[in-house]
Amino acid sequence: MDFNLSPFEKMVQKTAKDFCEKEVTKIDAYMAEHKDYPPDLLQRFAKARLLGMDVPKEFGGIGSTNFNLILFAEELGKTGSTCMLPFFMNNSVAETICHWGTEEVKKKFVPPMCDGSAWASMAFTEPGTGSDPKALTMVAEPDGDDFILNGTKRFISMANKPGYGIFFAKDLSMQGAKTDTTAFIVDKFSPGITCSGHYELMGLDGADTCDIFFKDVRVPKANILGEQGKGFKILLRWIAGERIQQAAALVGGAQGALEEAARYSKERVVSGFPLGFMQGFTWMLAEMKTKVDASRLMVYNAILLQDQKKPFEVPSAELKVFVVPMVQEVCRMAVQIHGSYGYSKEYKVEKLFRNAMHGGIVASSLEINKTIAGMAYLAGR
């Protein structure tokens, strides 16, 4: 399918491929050995001016579009590299702060996320809740010009890396109000903060997803993002954008799986014929290719709405509904085509399959998105 990209957009794709070849291969080699991100990871992205892509220049960004960001996202997803997580996080958290923050907040926290000196995190999930703000157990108690935060967050990416995270807590000073979740920007190395070790996940090898524990952590009032009590809105908006980036990476992974499967189908010979010429396999490849192309179209549609500053929450939810099962199936079929080789860790499709499985879980579950999309459709939105 020809998506009619402009010469500039084609050059962005070429540059993305170049970046993956030059930088991501090195990053992955480090991660395979050390099971963690290389300490200079963000600098490598920052050097190529890939952080703060949709952040204005005055705050250290490059004032580009989200479309260019997902052209990169797809290439990163194709490599199967876990380094896409910090790439997304730094970009989306910086943009979120730019959207909701006061001038002081923007000036303080956005530039370090764009120049790679701060690792960004987004922390809502707790042991007891992944999506319900009423069930939050992290509390924020007012104390003069500060708040004291106590509680636990779970499965937080880059929790143990220096930088800033947006933490969502039950604001005790807002008791009685309709909503009482406040978003705080916290220096992750503040006194009182400790982290657990990494969770070992099914996919996204080396991702440092941890629990983070707050014990009497003092956070200045000035670090509140947006309006007190109205923090959940911030999370929802962030998730809507994050879903699109994630979907783009998933499409990239599926594209990678598709290409691997096609290559294998041409090389593997059974009864004198390349595998791909056997009807069953030709059909599989046709299904896989169309699923990937259709998913990509939906991603492009959603991202263009976001760039045009039109409402995109529902299209982004619909993305999850369609794209996640599609790419998971494509990756599964790719493994199947490879036979025993696909089940072996030596072949790429095995990793792409495991990575694809996070799509229905991370950054809002598939089911929640079905609810959002279904309800919106019924309500005529």
Partner: protein, 260 residues
């Protein structure tokens, strides 16, 4: 430091394919900046990072070379000039060096000219040194390392099994080896600016030259023919005999192919 970099757009010969008759399929190959020239660009950019200044990138070729010039601007070059004219077509090394040399002369003042050692398609490695002789610039070829100090440059020159350290005054011409550096990824902000910049287009009339010296007409060498070396896939020639005899036959084949 004002640096001029000469680049060439080439078909990606690593992607070359053969048809059933053993003939080369030359169409449909993606076009890229010649790999050695990317190292030349990176060398200029690295010098600019340290010393400041401007980088002008020039290339001779058909209009589609514009894409490569944009890529070079995206890496961080400041100015791009495309030398394009039907009359430049069919140029051999001499005429190409003449054309590029005239363009460099027209650009005026510069501290250094950097080119790649050789192009991936022609593999002659001649144009760089020819431009140096034309413009009477000190030549430091096969650079493995470049270091500037004041108005001098120190170059480590790759002479095969030896390395020479050269010292030359500026302005000079340097040809870049692939071991010189690792070309940077074009940063996104530069890439965005690159597409907003104007690429200057210069034809023969802009250059102050003798019309007889351009293009095919101006090329002292003439191509008589091009042919593909014999590649018979799937028809292996089995060399018979006991180990000593078959080994001897194989060595004869090695000699034929110049492996010994």
């Amino acid at each position: 430091m004002n640096i001029i970099v000469c680049i060439k757009q080439v078909p990606d010969v690593t992607e070359v394919k053969w048809d059933e008759n053993g003939s080369l399929i030359r169409t449909g190959l993606p076009s890229i900046i010649n790999p050695n020239d990317k190292h030349a660009l990176e060398a200029a950019l690295a010098l600019k990072d340290v010393h400041g200044g401007t980088i002008t990138v020039i290339s001779m070729g058909p209009p589609q070379v514009e894409e490569s010039l944009r890529e070079a601007l995206g890496m961080g070059c400041d100015r791009a000039i495309l030398l394009t004219d039907r009359k430049f077509g069919g140029a051999d090394c001499w005429a190409t060096a003449y054309t590029l040399g005239l363009a460099i002369r027209k650009i005026g003042s510069f501290d250094m000219v950097i080119t790649g050692v050789e192009a991936m398609d022609g593999n002659t490695a001649q144009v760089g040194p020819e431009i140096a002789d034309f413009l009477k610039l000190p030549l430091c070829s096969y650079a493995l390392d470049i270091r500037c100090e004041g108005d001098k440059v120190f170059v480590l020159q790759n002479m095969g099994d030896m390395v020479r350290e050269l010292e030359a005054p500026l302005p000079c011409l340097i040809t870049a080896e692939k071991e010189l550096n690792e070309p940077r990824v074009a940063p996104m902000d530069m890439l965005m600016e690159a597409y907003a910049k104007e690429i200057e287009i210069w034809g023969m009339d802009v250059l102050d030259g003798d019309p007889a010296n351009f293009g095919l007409k101006g090329s002292p060498t003439r191509l008589r023919k091009v042919f593909s070396p014999k590649r018979i896939k799937g028809k292996v020639e089995i060399l018979e005999g006991d180990p000593a005899e078959s080994a001897r036959k194989l060595v004869e084949k090695f000699k034929e192919h110049n492996f010994i």
